[in-house]
């Protein structure tokens, strides 16, 4: 089992502090869901951990080992699904699978994942938003990262794919820890082990749907 610790995370934009001294600990086997209203800093939180936005301060440790200079990308133990599509549009699905995985078993696992055979000869630019999202999650999930940061994995995905993605994320729990943000709260809550809400820059523990109502994320 591996542990990811995030401590002392602070970020300000133009003098306004949007994330205040946040900390989070997750282990492989956990799906942590983070909710928050638009602009609350959910995506920023994930980008700060991943290192693509520079924080005011942050401490990221995996299994107690500090990741120096927040060089999470180079360390390659954390994967990140951004909010917008990141796959090159001029490549075919099969080409990307072969580029991403040199190991034949991994390639097979992706090629034989549900619904991939229907799209494997199509270019990324010709896939629907939902198909792209699904492919991105399947690709990321099969890489060797111990932890995944998923920014809105259910966004623009048709219900059938949502169910497949939820099943897939549940199978990933055996080997990975996941931090997930999404506005599709019912789907996210179904697979969550721990739930948090980011409000006014602080992290609030959520135990049930009513807590989301009480904190103003949902209406009663």
């Amino acid at each position: 089992m591996s542990f990811l610790e995030i401590k002392n995370l602070n970020k300000s934009f133009r003098g306004k502090q949007i994330l205040k001294d946040l900390s989070l600990e997750i282990s492989t086997g956990d799906i942590n869901v983070i909710f928050g209203r638009n602009g609350s800093g959910k995506s920023t939180f994930l980008k700060l951990i991943y290192g693509t936005i520079i924080p005011d301060s942050i401490e990221v440790r995996i299994d107690g080992e500090l990741i120096k200079d927040n060089n999470v990308i180079l360390d390659n133990r954390i994967g990140y699904l951004p909010q917008n599509n990141f796959l090159p549009k001029n490549l075919k699905v099969s080409e990307i699978i072969l580029m991403y995985f040199s190991d034949a078993n991994k390639q097979d696992r992706v090629f034989y994942a549900p619904r991939i055979n229907c799209i494997q000869n199509r270019k990324i630019g010709h896939l629907s938003m939902g198909e792209r999202r699904y492919l991105e999650i399947i690709l990321l999930g099969n890489l060797n990262h111990k932890f995944l940061l998923l920014d809105e994995p259910f966004s623009m995905v048709e219900p059938l794919f949502v169910e497949i993605i939820k099943d897939f994320l549940n199978t990933l729990k055996d080997t990975k820890g996941i931090i997930l943000t999404d506005h599709y709260y019912q789907d996210a809550m179904e697979i969550a082990d721990k739930i948090f809400l980011i409000k006014d820059g602080a992290k609030i523990k959520i135990n049930e749907k009513n807590d989301l109502i009480n904190h103003g994320y949902l209406i009663a």
């Binding site: 951004p82 990321l140 890489l143």
Partner: protein, 93 residues
């Protein structure tokens, strides 16, 4: 992984080649095209990729490639290509 780096190399140099060719013809001399290719052409090629395809960096990040590492690789190969082209040119000349 080489294929992945090569993809970035091609994408950046598609812009780079256009800029180098146009600049070489317009302002300098075609002999200087390799020099432009390995200097300001590379710089503007990277900037163009960042402008048009910034989200595709995550394609590389998830495999452990930082922007710095990708850009240094492109720069290294472009300098090598330029020196090679200059060498061939002077040998033939």
């Amino acid at each position: 992984m080489l294929k992945v780096i090569f993809k970035y190399f091609l994408d950046v140099n598609l812009f780079n080649f256009i800029y180098s060719f146009v600049l070489g013809i317009l302002f300098f001399n075609y002999i200087y095209i390799p020099f432009i290719f390995s200097t300001i052409g590379t710089f503007f090629g990277i900037l163009s990729f960042k402008y048009f395809y910034s989200n595709e960096y995550y394609f590389y990040h998830n495999l452990g490639f930082t922007e710095l590492r990708l850009n240094m690789t492109v720069l290294f190969f472009n300098v090598f290509i330029s020196i090679f082209v200059f060498a061939i040119y002077y040998l033939v000349k």
